[in-house]
């Protein structure tokens, strides 16, 4: 059990670094001109977010969620709070999955991130996950 805990801790440390980096890059100072690259990136982020939210509307996704005992609203809220870097990663997974397939795989990946953020006490989605202090 302690081994598992150590392993999770390692993963979390990596996740912390990734999240911290993503946050730094996403909160660029605003007292300046808005560059073309920024505008394109922001729109892309919105698009990615919307695509994930649309995925939640699929019946098989909702079935899987209720099977896992997670409400759709909770997941939707979590999606709204994803950083651009996280979104881009899921977008990549989506792009690799053929249409109609792999959705459950993406959900599993999604929950990996949820569980990790739960462990960091950033979220409290899964009651069975205890956070690491």
């Amino acid at each position: 059990m302690s081994e598992l805990r150590g392993c999770l801790k390692q993963i979390s440390l990596v996740m912390i670094a990734v999240l911290a980096m993503a946050t730094t890059f996403s909160s660029v100072a605003n007292a300046t001109m808005v560059s073309t690259g920024d505008m394109i990136q922001q729109e892309q982020t919105q698009l990615d977010r919307q695509q994930l939210l649309n995925m939640l509307e699929k019946q098989d996704v909702q079935d899987k969620l209720s099977e896992l005992g997670v409400s759709k609203d909770t997941v939707a809220e979590r999606i709204q709070n994803l950083t651009p870097a996280e979104l881009a990663e899921f977008e990549q997974q989506l792009a690799q999955a053929p249409a109609g397939e792999g959705v459950v795989g993406i959900i599993v990946l999604f929950f990996l991130v949820f569980i990790v953020t739960d462990m960091l006490c950033a979220t409290d989605l899964f009651p069975f996950v205890r956070c690491i202090r």
Binding site: N30, I40, Q44, P98, G105
Partner: protein, 328 residues
Amino acid sequence: MTGCHLGRGLGAVLALGLLAGCASAPPWPETGAAPQAEDIEPATVMVGDVPFFPQEKYQCGPAALATVLNHRGLDTDPESLKDKVFIPGRQGSLQVEMVATARAHGLLVYPLEPELGAVLEEVAAGNPVLILQNLQLDWWPQWHFAVVTGYDRGEETLILNTGTLEHYSMPHDVFMATWARADHWAVVTLPPTQTPATAQRLPYLRAAHDLEASNHPEAALTAYRTAEERWPDDPTPIMAQGNLAFSQHRVEKATDHFRRAVQRFPGFAAGWNNLGYALEAQGCNVFAYQAKACAGNLAPERFDDQSRPTASSNADHCPALPSCPLVQ
């Protein structure tokens, strides 16, 4: 066992990717190769005026690139492209160099969606498609560039200029297998006055911005104008023209573009913000202050700049400020 390797967790994530990659080849697309109904859709398509350069061993990159460049009326040949894209040590070319060289010739490089339908639609619209294939195996790759110049819907074959073969008919499943092993890499190269048949707004803008970022401002400007015409409801192409002019120190030109942006899209806060900076650079401090204040009012969370100094005077001949939708 002492401790745990991060590799195990990452392995699980990688396994997901591998599973996704194991799907069998999708069938020949029923629709999507042309906007018309299937019965009037052409069964066979060949792009005209595609030159052919027989490719010597390892030089598929320069030859394929010469094919698409000459199709656009540029006068070049594999020999003169060889120095730019062929790496002797690797006996091949890299995608990034192919793309950079196409841009250096003033063309916009648009990456296609990783679907056969997109390739067919571009070919049907007269755009030869530059593709990458892996002719061998994932763990022992043989990379190969080729140009799709046509297709036969009845036979379910793609027609390629590839290697030493012109108009080679490749069965659909062979094409899909070799193309998938190269991550479905496919691009069209076209003058910045045109948009591809499958063009979507954001990827097109990114392709145009890539032209600017790779130091081809003239081609980028043309592409932004093309985008403004094609997607008139989007402020980004106008903003991009303003930002480009500003970066070239053509401040008055930049102001014109940003003014046009906020006149057409009065609620677009970033437009007011950039207009403010352009006016400031012109010495129009009062108007600059008002424009930035407008941005701050429209989107306080993004543009609320408390440190903004109160301006006292405008330079001569400052252009009139459009009215801010919130601050009258």
